[in-house]
Symmetry: C2
Subunit: 645 residues, 2 copies
């Protein structure tokens, strides 16, 4: 809709961002002087300084009613959800509850969400949670990545890991809701996670970060040399563990190649220590390379152990399944370039990024070359390099945590410099505010990287927003990388913590407007209704079965089909509601007041919730999703007859 082509006559920000204006922008100075210098005319009237500045950042401006050109999928770190942004407006459009408990949608409360939250848990965890309400209420969502087909996003799924409670979740992109969550056995605290890029996803690779005993049942405690960390390949279609690899060191971030042959994980703590001093003692750690074909063959041939119910191979030093390439201490980011050849291993405690050439890996696995022979460049970029993004034109953008900068550098020049040529790979640095972690470019982790936008996810905002108290937002900054010079165009505040993101062109994603009545999401509700002889779409029944009561209703704005229902104190009640409105954006809700019940009922969906009616009296239920001029009147009563005393 607003994908207007920029013609040659159009204003170039490169022209504007020259001289003092550019210097001021790069230094992060206030804009009054810049804007004043840029002030000109619109429609015959002089621009105010603010208007001039708005025009200056105009490429990122999405006016009222105009549409964004990219979806941004943001993890939320310890908030446990996934967020959809619009890019370049940087507006947060919607939240997708995943690992968190959502007051609005009833995620963690409804029967449908609790099935998703519990069916992939390990038996020990189910038992642990049985005295804690049955579901985890928190998560630490780090890395959101879309499923790939042939090296680019295919719009089917998003995957995201939970570092806090060792899980990986999947989100269906047709409805933008989570449909599967699995707990990863043997591993502790999933950190890095990336989907297979080729031929398709396929596998979702997941790093168990922390080393723990296997099994972690208390028989081994303060014996760190008996701890292990585990790399996992998940079948992204079935959402089951395909295989695991035990490795040396703590697994950090990972990525996959564009050939479908290898996956890679950075490792820190090669010392396998348990204190800060121990973990950072060595001068070098490593990146570990996984040979997918060899591992698949071993799994097929039974060359494995079954541990915790899944196939596990031993990939520690000396294994045929892995190779360990030494990298300066505590490498962190791991990003495959769109050229399909280079993988960037960021130094974190070293000022360098090590560039690995995947075309050399077959020789490494065949022991024809040494591990460090696979490193074809190692440019020194600045202090605290963490993650690298790409523009698809041979340039890389690396966040520098300690320098609070993004460094743009040229991959080819870095390779040439590594060979001894006198060439400087660094193209430009730009200040960000402050302390960047992950970064990401539009389509940048696919072969279709388009070099338009870069987002820098900064861990501190300090003085960049009005003071909201001791807990400050973080700062997602948008940088225009389409010109020769990078230009900072937007500061976006965000709640803890925007750990990572991807930026996907809108044409890839095509969500439904309303649900399909045949959707598998409420298969169990459908089975109950069939058993009870109820038509969900015309339901207004109350079925009693001992002390179990099933209440079926439908909603059409502004009414529920039942204006009241009566139960007995102590009854185990399940309420099934079907939203029979069939127009887009007509979500209903069901809040049962003073019972802690609230849930979203999307158009054409069925949602259910179960609870014990142990509070006698008159309890109103109401629609909490504004639906109609008589929305406030959309309600009814649950009458709970007191237990005879």
């Amino acid at each position: 809709m607003s994908k207007e082509k920029i013609s040659k006559q159009d204003f170039s920000r490169r022209d504007l961002l020259s001289g003092s204006a550019k210097a001021a922008t790069l230094a992060g100075l206030g804009s009054a002087t810049v804007a004043a210098g840029a002030a000109g005319l619109v429609g015959g009237s002089a621009l105010t300084p603010r208007q001039a500045k708005a025009a200056e950042a105009g490429k990122a401006f999405v006016g009222p009613g105009d549409l964004d050109e990219y979806y941004g999928f943001w993890s939320s770190g310890q908030s446990g959800e996934v967020r959809i942004y619009g890019v370049p407006s940087m507006r947060e459009l919607i939240r997708i509850p995943v690992f968190n408990r959502c007051s609005a949608t009833g995620w963690g409360l409804t029967n449908e969400s609790r099935k998703i939250l519990t069916e992939g848990l390990l038996p020990g965890t189910k038992e642990f949670l049985s005295t804690r309400g049955g579901v985890w209420l928190n998560g630490d969502a780090h890395h959101p990545h879309m499923s790939f087909t042939d090296g680019t996003y295919d719009g089917r799924f998003l995957f995201v890991n939970d570092k806090a409670n060792t899980r990986v979740a999947r989100i269906r992109c047709d409805v933008m809701k989570c449909d599967k969550i699995i707990e990863i056995p043997n591993a502790a605290d999933i950190h890095g996670m990336r989907p297979q890029k080729y031929p398709r996803t396929g596998y979702v690779f997941a790093n168990g970060e922390h080393r723990v005993p296997i099994p972690n049942d208390g028989m081994i405690l303060d014996e760190p040399d008996k701890y292990h960390s585990v790399f996992t390949a998940i079948d992204g279609d079935a959402m089951t563990v395909a295989w695991q690899v035990i490795v040396d060191g703590n697994l950090d971030n990972c990525d996959a190649d564009y050939q479908g042959l290898y996956a890679f994980s950075t490792c820190y703590n090669s010392e396998e220590g348990v204190t800060l001093a121990e973990m950072t003692a060595n001068e070098q750690d490593w990146v570990v390379i996984f040979d997918i074909k060899r591992i698949e063959a071993a799994v097929k041939n039974g060359d494995l152990k079954t541990i915790g119910g899944v196939p596990v191979v031993d990939g520690r030093h000396g294994s045929k399944f892995t190779r360990y390439i030494p990298i300066s201490t505590s490498p962190h980011g791991c990003n495959t370039a769109p050229d399909g050849r280079h993988v960037m291993i960021a130094g974190k405690l070293s000022p360098t990024v090590s560039v690995m050439d995947v075309t050399l890996l077959p020789d490494l696995f065949d022991d024809k070359i040494k591990p460090r022979d696979c490193i074809v460049a190692e440019p020194e970029l600045g202090l605290g390099p963490l993650h690298t993004a790409f523009d698809g034109e041979g340039n890389a953008f690396t966040t520098l945590f300690l320098d609070s900068q993004v460094c743009k550098w040229n991959i080819d020049k870095a390779v040439r410099a590594f060979k001894g040529e006198k060439v400087d790979p660094i193209v430009e640095k730009i200040d960000v505010h402050y302390q960047p972690g992950h970064n990401h470019t539009s389509m940048g982790e696919t072969k279709e990287a388009d070099g338009k936008w870069l987002v820098s996810l900064n861990k501190f905002s300090k003085d960049r927003f009005i003071n909201v108290g001791p807990l400050k937002p973080e700062n997602d900054q948008l940088i225009d990388i389409s010109g020769d010079s990078m230009a900072l165009v937007h500061d976006g505040a965000s709640f803890a913590e925007p750990h990572d993101c991807i930026i996907v062109k809108t044409s890839v994603v095509n969500p439904r407007a309303i649900w399909d009545r045949n959707d598998p999401m409420w298969a169990e509700a459908r089975a109950w209704a069939e058993k009870d002889g109820v038509d969900l779409e015309e339901a207004e029944q109350v079925i009693r079965d001992g002390n179990k009561v099933r209440v079926y209703m439908y909603s059409i704005a502004p009414t529920f089909s039942l204006e009241k229902f009566t139960v007995k104190q102590g009854d185990e009640v399940t309420v099934f509601i079907t939203n029979m409105d069939d127009v887009g954006d007509l979500t209903h809700g069901f809040t049962l007041a003073n019972y802690g019940i609230a849930m979203e009922i999307p158009a054409q969906a069925t949602v259910s919730v179960s609870f014990t009616a142990d509070r006698p009296g008159v309890h109103w239920f109401y629609c909490q999703w504004f639906c109609h001029a008589l929305h406030m009147e959309m309600r009814g009563r649950m009458l709970v007859e007191p237990r005879a005393t």
Copy 2:
């Protein structure tokens, strides 16, 4: 910082928004033609259409590093939190968990938050929740309002109601955290809520919306004529119920006067029915007026009943404490104008707003005039008038839900028209997208209304953002009201549901950068430490007391003072952590992996959490709030010795 004065030479949006441009904007059309028409020059270069549009909306543009001029405090409806926005950038800066369970901060998990969430609950609710984890996990946060002194905001507190579980919460504006939550007895499902404006807050007035039996213990069930609704005055300093009034009808929205004499609530369902047909049968409902001085005198003189532990007076028809002014069916919004005289009662199902003159209320209570004599204007504005905001220059802005418009109208002209003068009070209408509920102007509910910005909180966004699936965002639109014509300058997506907001100039609010070590928030932790002989600020102790274990540590980036601690399976463990970093924006976190524990530890604060260590083995804890280049290494181990079998 960026409060630049607009000089006379500056560009006027009125000039730009003339002719076809204005028409196109009002019709909500795409911008290409508008922008093309407005295209001009900046710094000698032609503007792209997008840049021209950016300049057009430039008054709302807050560039990278520039600061907003207003705090926006947003309720979040069924999300249960409060959000702080920056205005005019409309960026969501931070979330304040209140009625929800927060995965990131541990709100609902930490001992400090659970004290706040539970200490104001009624005994029956505590018992009900005892089998449900002890705290509510959801809320429906409707109306966020700041404390007043002398008719304007004083920056001390925010108050917000929970319709779902009948609560009112308070947020401390010095730290932007909730410090008190109380459940309101006798009432069901608090809806309208406003603070006393004069002489100060003082009272927080809260409407019990739904009619229920008192007590609601199941003795009365399907006998709606025995149901009641209750109006509550809360002491905002003590956060206790000062007094209650039983009324006729369902209480909807409320407001207070600028004289400290009266409060007002709209009521629908004068029929006191329980079905939609019954509730909307009458042609008229009413606004009920509460005489604060008479009620205070009755409470002082004991002219009351004590019900549910609080003083209750009977304010039903015929009472000396109240008067009922008839209004066309189902009035909704209730907004006192900054002129200190007029109160706007929106018609909802009637196209009118009824204007009440508070200077006539003494005569009404003295029975010198009739109720309808207090209505001094009743302009017909359009379909579905819901809420009214003000510019401080005698104009009112009313949302029209069904028409999807905001209507600007002149109060004085409406009064004159009501007297028979041939004058049209309607100044202008602007389309909003779509179906607006609440609206609010900058400082608009105070005597300092400044007429700069209007926010329209629209319940549907439909096609205004890229498609994110069946659940769409709502749409908070920003409208520039500083000129003669209203101008829509921003569409802001928001997650369910931005129910209401206020817009407060930044000078009123001055939050702390870090916590005071003497803050009462962790008084209990301080008491425990004293009893255990532990200095919280240098703590690295594990105190065992039978099967109760108290673990004390402090944090300084990138370490916790304990790299490990050992407990026995089944121990009841409390972990106290003090963040000894003393610079702004240096929050730490404590996540205990695979135990469901995660919490925020702000700079200079102490936070604690209790749990049963019923899972043996090695469990890593880590800092989840990015704090340092070695943040990932900031961690330790909890070793849980298995129970002897």
